[in-house]
Structure formats: structure tokens, C-alpha cells
């Protein structure tokens, strides 16, 4: 599965040209088309008492976005790339889905969710919502920590946390196409403490040996595809261990499959992928469940 076309969803305050620029390394793996999408939330131009629908504000916001997109597009056109753009007054997720339907991208790039914790509890985060409604991989782009520095080479040292699920298989097939792009990839599997039959050393070592063998087989597949990899088995709480490994290996991005938990269960209990995507400082590439 090659990434030839990406949908770059921006509100400008979260994702700008520097973020896009750091993704252009994907050209080495076949990226040739970028589609921009800016959704102006309805409440910015909605009917206000005394002033009605803010048509002038809509025109101003659309033109501002258009000027930014023209500027970005000129840079990409000059590289020989294909570029398209949508600017819509609407609601974010339905507009993303419409653009996905029309453009059939191979990757959606989006900034961190801007909903507050209470809003997320009832309406879910944009990212969770998106992973539920599309089968296309999603890159949640983030500026690193407080200094807001864009990671220049996000594919330099990705950490791929596999759960051996369907969505992990999808990730494997996509990552194998990125041999020219990925520097060194760390692959990990976390054995959940709850899944261990007993806590005696022999049992734990047996489980580790089995998982390590499976990871080694996967490493061989990646090495055949020209990607340098290092396998790791962790035991503990998956969310914590993944973040620990990302820190230990100075990961530039975390790659995750998405769980198959039901929507209601996930809303109240959360999921590992959702929590990491929403809360961690690392850019995350999410692979929704295969549909």
C-alpha cells in the first residue's frame, strides 16, 4: 500500500507549511499529490443576534485560507507535484469524509484534537471519530513539546507498536513501502500484565521468548523491504510502556493500529491508541481497523 496522495487537513494554527514540508520526504516513496482542506467552523460565521449571518466574515476567512493555500501550492507545484484544495464552511469530520470520498487519499494528516475534555467525553475527539468512520491511515501531527518545534524528520526513528491485530497488518503493508523514507524503525509488542497466566519468572520468560520470535520474523520481513529495524518486547500497561519506549529510543513518531472496541466502551474506558494519539507529545500514525 503506497502513499501517493495525502489529504492535509489544516486550521492553520495547528498545521502549517513547516509540517507539510517535513512530510515531503514521502516523495521518495511515491507521494505525488497533496490535497489541502480547511474547514471554517460554522460558529465563526453563524447567525448572531443583531447582525445575522456573517457573510463578510465568511468571505474574509475563505480568502485568507485561499491565499495561504496558493502560497503552499506554488511551492509544491514547483517540485512537480499535483495539488488540490478545498475551503468549506461546515463541520470538520463530515467535510473530511466528503473530501476522502472525492479524492481517495492514501493518508489523512490532521493536527491534534481541539475539543476540551468534557466535549470529548460526549462527542468523542475528532481523531477517534475519524478512525471510526474511515479505513484510511491517519497521521496526527504534533509540534514537539512546549517550544512548538516541528519535528523535521518524523520518519527518522518511528516506533511501531504492534498488537498483532488486523489494523497492525495494514500498518505493516504500508510501512514496507517506506524503505527509502524510514531511517531506523523500532518495533515493539507489549504483553499486558493482565494477560500473563502467572507472574513466575519462567512463565514471563516463556511469553517473552514467544513474542520475541514473532517480532524477529516481522523484522526479517521489514529488512527484506530495505528497512533497518530493532525489536523490543515490553511487559506492563501498554499505554505506559509504549510511551516509555518512545522516550527511551527517542522516537520521532509512534505508529499504532486502532482497537476494535465498541464505540460506547471506548467512550467511557478509552483506548490505547486514542489516548496516545490525543495526549502524547509524539506525532502518531494510526491505522484504523480493516474494513
Amino acid at each position: 500500500m503506497k502513499i501517493k496522495k495525502l489529504l492535509f487537513v489544516t486550521k492553520f494554527e495547528d498545521l502549517c507549511y513547516d509540517s507539510l514540508n517535513s512530510l515531503l520526504t514521502l516523495r521518495k516513496a511515491g507521494l505525488e499529490h497533496v490535497v489541502f482542506l480547511n474547514v471554517i467552523e460554522r460558529d465563526k460565521v453563524a447567525m448572531k443576534r443583531g447582525s445575522g449571518y456573517l457573510k463578510e466574515e465568511e468571505v474574509k476567512l475563505k480568502e485568507t485560507a485561499n491565499i495561504r493555500f496558493i502560497d503552499w501550492a506554488e511551492n509544491l507545484f514547483e517540485l512537480g507535484m499535483e495539488v488540490g484544495a478545498y475551503i468549506e464552511v461546515s463541520t470538520l469530520i463530515p467535510e473530511i469524509l466528503k473530501a476522502v470520498e472525492k479524492e481517495k487519499p492514501d493518508l489523512i494528516v490532521i493536527g491534534r484534537s481541539h475539543k476540551g475534555p468534557l466535549e470529548q467525553l460526549y462527542s468523542r475527539s475528532d481523531i477517534t471519530e475519524l478512525t471510526r468512520r474511515t479505513a484510511i491511515p491517519i497521521l496526527v501531527f504534533k509540534h514537539l513539546a512546549e517550544d512548538k518545534v516541528v519535528p523535521e524528520k518524523i520518519f527518522e526513528r518511528p516506533l511501531f507498536a504492534t498488537s498483532w491485530s488486523n489494523s497492525s497488518e495494514k500498518a505493516i503493508s504500508c510501512l514496507k513501502e517506506l524503505g527509502n523514507v524510514i531511517g531506523e524503525m523500532h518495533i515493539m509488542h507489549v504483553v499486558n500484565e493482565k494477560d500473563l497466566k502467572s507472574s513466575d519468572t519462567h512463565e514471563v520468560q516463556k511469553v517473552r521468548k514467544k513474542e520475541r520470535k514473532q517480532l524477529d520474523d516481522l523484522c526479517e520481513e521489514f529488512e527484506d523491504a530495505g528497512i533497518s529495524v530493532r525489536p523490543h518486547v515490553y511487559v506492563g500497561d501498554p499505554e505506559k510502556e509504549i510511551l516509555k519506549a518512545a522516550k527511551e529510543y527517542q522516537a520521532t513518531m509512534i505508529i499504532l493500529g486502532f482497537s476494535e472496541k465498541t464505540a460506547i466502551l471506548e467512550r467511557w474506558m478509552g483506548s490505547i491508541s486514542r489516548n496516545i494519539a490525543d495526549k502524547s507529545i509524539y506525532p502518531c500514525m494510526l491505522f484504523p481497523v480493516k474494513k
Binding site: F77, L79, G80, G84
Partner: protein
């Protein structure tokens, strides 16, 4: 019979502006919202002139322009580029694609950077198709 001019632009305000200019000057306007729709219309019923935007969803004007200029049955159709993208960037993109694909695509007959006055657009159209 009036000459047919196809306007390919994703912005409804721009389409409306160009259509008004065309109608007032006794041309028959046809409209397409993006490069894909534009190409379908051109192949179905070749117009006398194409007025083409560059930055559009579902296929940019850059690709459509190349398609028109490299297809033997379509390359004689005159094209006016009508866009917010600077001509310099357009020419650089064509150069990059020429290098990548081999061959050389001719420069556009007329390149108008938005916004333009109606008179300027009419002059450009008249220059190409009378």
C-alpha cells in the same frame, strides 16, 4: 453560431464572473468545476477555447493543461490560464514535469493572474478566437 468557451474553475464566484463576461460578449459559456470534469467535457465536445484555473480539487489545471497539449486531438484548442498561482510557479512546475516525464510542453498562449478586469479578459479571448 457563437463560439463555445469552457471555463474550468472550482470557485463559483469566478465561474459566474467569467460566464457573465462571455455572455455579454456573445460567446457560449460551458462550465466545469475541476480538472476531471473539464477533461470529460472537452473530450465529449471540444470547445473553441478553454479558460483554465490551476489550483482545483480532483485534478489541477497543471495536469489538465499538460493533457491538452500532449494529446494530438486536443492540442490545437487554445488555452487561457486564469489563476491565482503565479506564472513563475506554473512554468517551474511544467519544467519539473518535463524533466520527469521527458518531452517539452509549450508555454500557455495567455496567462492571466487573478484578479483581472473584464476588459482584459475580453481582450485575451478576442485575441485567441476573435
Amino acid at each position: 453560431m457563437s463560439k463555445k468557451v469552457l471555463v474550468v474553475d472550482d470557485d463559483p464566484d469566478v465561474r459566474s464572473f467569467v460566464v457573465t463576461v462571455l455572455e455579454e460578449n456573445h460567446y457560449t459559456p460551458l462550465v466545469a468545476q475541476d480538472g476531471v470534469e473539464g477533461l470529460e467535457m472537452i473530450e465529449k465536445e471540444p470547445p473553441d477555447l478553454v479558460i483554465l484555473d490551476v489550483l482545483m480539487p480532483r485534478g489541477s489545471g497543471i495536469r489538465l493543461y499538460r493533457k491538452l497539449k500532449t494529446d494530438d486531438s486536443l492540442k490545437e484548442i487554445p488555452v487561457i490560464m486564469f489563476t491565482g498561482i503565479a506564472m513563475r510557479s506554473f512554468l517551474k512546475s511544467q519544467k519539473a514535469l518535463d524533466e520527469f516525464n521527458g518531452g517539452e510542453v509549450p508555454k500557455p498562449d495567455i496567462y492571466l493572474e487573478k484578479p483581472v478586469e473584464p476588459e482584459e479578459l475580453v481582450r485575451a479571448i478576442q485575441k485567441k478566437i476573435g
